[in-house]
Symmetry: C2
Subunit: 208 residues, 2 copies
DNA sequence: CACATTAGTGAACACTTGTACACATGGATA
DNA sequence: TATCCATGTGTACAAGTGTTCACTAATGTG
């Protein structure tokens, strides 16, 4: 019989989660993954799955939690690297794209989950996006870049910004990871989107 | 043995496609549907599937084509119903939402396909969105509402508009079809998004 | 009318799937 | 040290899967 050493606690759990992400990274859709498939990819016997998750939806929910950590790391780096206010958009988009590349499977999972099968996962991702948007609003407030906007209008603007970036994600994940030209195009386009939105925000009161 | 009457040509084909849509409408993800499942829902023997489609991806591609028709109908109605230029955004959003409600499963399929499993379906949907955006640009040009924008900037604006609306789709499809309050909220928010974008477009030259 | 084509059927195939059960083992706890 | 429990393993099974095959009835074409 094969050895059944138990290594660090939670190791198999992580193997299963990253196995699912690996399969997603290979082009599979999370909704089409099965328990056996994931355990096979993780190099673990199918029964082990139930030691950690009740079903695939449960695994998805726990992936959403980890996704939250990835997003928070990204925000922290963005805040640390904002050198000048007028380059804020460009630099933030660049950081976002590099994180999306570095955690491709994670963001793929996020893009899939937005219209996914599990309502709970869907809501989880949406919630992460709302949090992201509200943090962005806080930052902009603190930098005093948007003093003329009401809280509500600022929230709306940040919401739109986050959505636009999230949509660019699906562009980004659609091109191969080493197609530098296309990635650069996406970066430029996303940057212009955000600039357009902020121009709109800057003139919002007069038009609203 | 059961009767095997063949009715109109292409009837089973349609039954299969709408069976897939029905399952999607019930909350399933297209990527997780199987051939047997679809044929069962259509009330047809599994073998019949192969008379019309090579596999599920093929069926998905043909659904994208039909989706194109739905979108074109929507555009036609929007063009016919634009009463006054200053209500253009509000009325267009309202038409969009009513079409999305009337063809819920179709739009659900579209939202899923954007980050779906089949690259071909993904590209098909993207292509429909590009077409939609370019038609929008033509209309705006014709109405002479955006004379100060270059073609390129206009394309970008329309692209952003279409993306924002598409993202609102996922909001809309996330709430139950008879939750009028939430739907109204989504309608208002989407309208404001577009207004913000167009305010940005109106002031774009001076800032770009 | 004869005939090829299309579009339906059911039976069978070799696999894969989710899940249940009994069992083993290492580490923490008492 | 003795015990418990979380975590691992192998086996088993019923149900579901995609696909092939041979057969049949309706339709369009000569």
């Amino acid at each position: 019989m094969a050895e059944k050493q138990r290594r660090k606690p939670g190791e198999t759990r992580e193997k299963l989660m990253s196995a699912a992400l690996t399969l997603v990274g290979k082009g599979r859709h999370f909704a089409s993954l099965g328990i056996r498939e994931v355990t096979r990819q993780a190099g673990v016997v199918p029964t082990s799955f139930y030691r950690h998750f009740r079903n695939m939806d449960d695994l998805g929910l726990q992936l959403v939690d980890e996704l939250g950590l990835v997003l928070r790391r990204m925000m922290r780096e963005a805040r640390a690297n904002v050198s000048q206010a007028d380059k804020l958009i460009e630099e933030s988009v660049a950081i976002f794209i590099s994180h999306a590349q570095a955690n491709r499977s994670f963001f793929l999972f996020m893009a899939q989950g937005l219209a996914g099968e599990s309502r709970a996962v869907q809501e989880g991702i949406r919630s992460e996006m709302r949090f992201f948007a509200s943090e962005l609003a806080n930052d902009l407030r603190r930098l005093r870049l948007v003093d003329h906007l009401s809280d509500q209008d600022l929230d709306m603007t940040c919401d739109l910004v986050v959505r636009s970036v999230a949509f660019s994600l699906t562009d980004l994940l659609g091109v191969s990871a080493d197609d530098d030209y296309q990635i650069e195009q996406i970066r430029k386009r996303t940057t212009r989107f955000l600039q357009l939105i902020f121009v709109g925000a800057a003139h919002w009161q007069s038009a609203g």
